[in-house]
């Protein structure tokens, strides 16, 4: 099963992509992008009322939700967001403590994983050069569709040194970027709880569809 774990829709202030248009694009590009679902990770927010079940049924794709928050160690994806987590952490705060967030989210039933670790300023690699490693990190986004040349490559050493699991996501803000990088899971993921549990356990790997897309189009 393949999911794009890092996507932004028009709910994020820097994206203009409607969720349904993402799904239409994936349906159209099925040959090059065999994606089974997406996880919406809007910037610095969590909307507990958003409901995409009708779209899931209409397009036969899994739609899950998380959030991308900002910490003193860079940006972090949070999956399994619940009331306990949003009560404790203000997602609009761009200076959250990663040392506090990551173990606490795990304790409250979710998982928080650093994204685009190779990017300057907002990626884990640079912060690990001057600060101690964060307790409780189990996985990092080893492949990010929005990263520049060399940024994804920086992550390999990090994974090797700390033994983190690796996943991928497109970080799409535009419709045509959805699914360009994703994560292949050994087991089926149907719910956010499945995703949280699997991210802790392992049995997944990042996939890059950019070459495949170029060949088909």
């Amino acid at each position: 099963m393949i999911l794009d774990l890092h996507t932004h829709s028009e709910a994020s202030e820097d994206s203009r992509a409607p969720v349904e248009t993402y799904l239409k694009w994936l349906a159209r590009k099925r040959e090059a992008l065999p994606i089974d679902g997406i996880v919406l990770t809007e910037h610095r927010q969590w909307n507990s009322h958003a409901d995409y079940r009708a779209l899931e049924d209409a397009y036969g794709l899994v739609i899950l939700r998380g959030a991308e928050v900002e910490t003193d160690y860079g940006h972090v994806l949070v999956y399994g967001v619940n009331e306990d987590i949003t009560r404790r952490f203000d997602f609009t705060n761009v200076r959250l403590s990663a040392q506090e967030l990551i173990p606490a989210v795990a304790h409250m039933g979710g998982i928080a994983v650093p994204c685009h670790p190779g990017r300057p300023t907002i990626g884990l690699c640079e912060h690990y050069e001057t600060k101690p490693p964060i307790d409780g990190v189990v996985a990092v986004e080893a492949l990010n569709g929005g990263s520049r040349r060399g940024e994804n490559e920086r992550v390999h050493a990090l994974i090797e040194r700390y033994g983190y699991h690796a996943f991928g996501g497109s970080d799409s803000h535009l419709v045509s970027f959805i699914g360009i990088c994703a994560t292949e899971f050994d087991h089926e993921i149907r719910t956010i709880d499945d995703l949280v549990q699997t991210l802790f356990q392992g049995g997944y790997r990042p996939l890059d569809f950019r070459d495949q897309l170029r060949k088909v189009s």
Binding site: E13, D90, N93, P120, T121
Partner: protein
Amino acid sequence: MALELDRSIIGSEFDRTIFDPVTDAEVAEYAAASTEPQPDQTIASPTFVVRLRGRRFMPSNLPPDLGRAAFDAGKDIEWGAPIRVGDVLTAVSTVHDIYEKTGRSGSMRFLVLRTVITNQRSEQVAVIDQRMMFR
């Protein structure tokens, strides 16, 4: 921890401008300049609203910690009723949002100014969200 930025000016109105009635010359001039099709000479093309300028572009009481250097970070426009020759338009501008984000180059602060334009029939003609980035 809450945002360090002072967000108390969100929602405050900083400009209200009532424009002179829209003339057919203005509508024609805009159509010619923008090369947008104008099938009906009495109705302005939707983007005509970007031509309108209120008296004040920015609030005078911006939080000092917002930053000094600002640039245009884009705008969103939601269109409503068409603008017709003779319409008297009113633009009301408020501070819609202030937020902070971090990117490759560090921390950025954003100010979103919302301008709602209505006509003399109180119909909403456009809502313009102008983003300004500060650092």
